[in-house]
Symmetry: D2
Amino acid sequence: MTQNLVMQADELSQYLREVFPESNDYGFNIKAMSDGHITVGMEVQDHHLRPGGSVSGPTMFALADIAAYLIVLAHIGKVALAVTTNLNINFLTKPQPGNLVAEASLMKLGKRLAVCAIEIRSSVDNALVAHATATYSIPPRP
Amino acid sequence: MTQNLVMQADELSQYLREVFPESNDYGFNIKAMSDGHITVGMEVQDHHLRPGGSVSGPTMFALADIAAYLIVLAHIGKVALAVTTNLNINFLTKPQPGNLVAEASLMKLGKRLAVCAIEIRSSVDNALVAHATATYSIPPRP
Amino acid sequence: MTQNLVMQADELSQYLREVFPESNDYGFNIKAMSDGHITVGMEVQDHHLRPGGSVSGPTMFALADIAAYLIVLAHIGKVALAVTTNLNINFLTKPQPGNLVAEASLMKLGKRLAVCAIEIRSSVDNALVAHATATYSIPPRP
Amino acid sequence: MTQNLVMQADELSQYLREVFPESNDYGFNIKAMSDGHITVGMEVQDHHLRPGGSVSGPTMFALADIAAYLIVLAHIGKVALAVTTNLNINFLTKPQPGNLVAEASLMKLGKRLAVCAIEIRSSVDNALVAHATATYSIPPRP
């Protein structure tokens, strides 16, 4: 299956706000999109931090998960019911206090499954702080 | 390494509130502990839900992660700097709206790494909604 | 979806030998089956060992993968085209030289995906040497 | 920790043959190395195939595992006891009959853990057939 974008960033951002109102809590924002790739920023806030100022694991998971969701939607369209079936995340180094950026790459876009890899970097020093792979199940389309 | 509890539930709950104040947001509560096992409940609130009433992936990740953290601490003591290095989660079925319960089992407790499996069930119908495995890195002890 | 066996051990063993002739190389044998569970033994041979006598990672992967395949087939019938889409394995401790046994449990049996957990133990001392989770994609059935 | 090569391809190939004589069974060969990266080829043989001519899952796992092992050794030296603790693999598409190539990238090289990502491609059409992440535990060094 070819991996061509079927939505643009503005439309996808708008759709995200509609179906996941709580995404505002994370300050998710689409920074760039191209065929097979998406870059998603997250504005880290105090309640995303662990003691010592490090971003919490669940916060990085949420960023990886939303980046995976957005890259899938960007290539299949507004299919709200696409669901994560598997997410594997390696935490590599503690991020500096500050915002995070996720770069997701689509590795497979099948009729039933999409698989992507996600790199999470610190906006402060560009360090690779986590790496995830995620599988989404795509509901049957008419 | 033998897998014997070194803390009791009251002490561990108290410690959790001290080091992760935000854990109150999830209503985590230790329901049972024994050698190699822990049961952790989560009081699901509106902002943990996805449209349609299903608990969000990041919320289930947070429960798996905290259950893993607690089972490790219960067996090694108050080592706040133990950190998750890997977490793999399979989402199996959408949970009914309602609370969740995680049962974590310690599969390995080494000097440097601890590995556990976590089953997440719905409190409503006891359905297995997610399964995770997590690895914690244990800092050197004096 | 209910998780009831649709094949018995003899029939499944016969089918395994037909579709995976190389499985004899591993000496796979079905030791027990019940709804949602299967126990598969492996006769470890010299070429499965690493220097020092420990069973190699790829050998344990092969055992986990075949146990997952067999538990899926046992519940859906002879669908040779079921394929592994994801396998996550944690190596917990080096096994004693000797045979291995895998116990697989079906955690989800959907129309399109099956997910199972696999524990691998040493036949020598029953130690838990590895734990895996596997996802199988099930082809559409007529 | 900086990620600089401490061995060259010839020396590493020689060491591989010494410690893993069975690696000849897979025809592993180091095609390229640079700081943080390694490319490993595998000569697929008949007994690596599934019915229909597709390379088996355990064979792809073995390639991912050896690529991870080699990239770690290339950066830490001859530490035979480095062991895989976790390997997560996504099978993306069935490879064409033919050889495979793995490209491994070192994502973290810590004192105790190394984490890498591995892409496996078909030598026939360069299709991405599998993606893995692996964690190695590094024994204490004097």
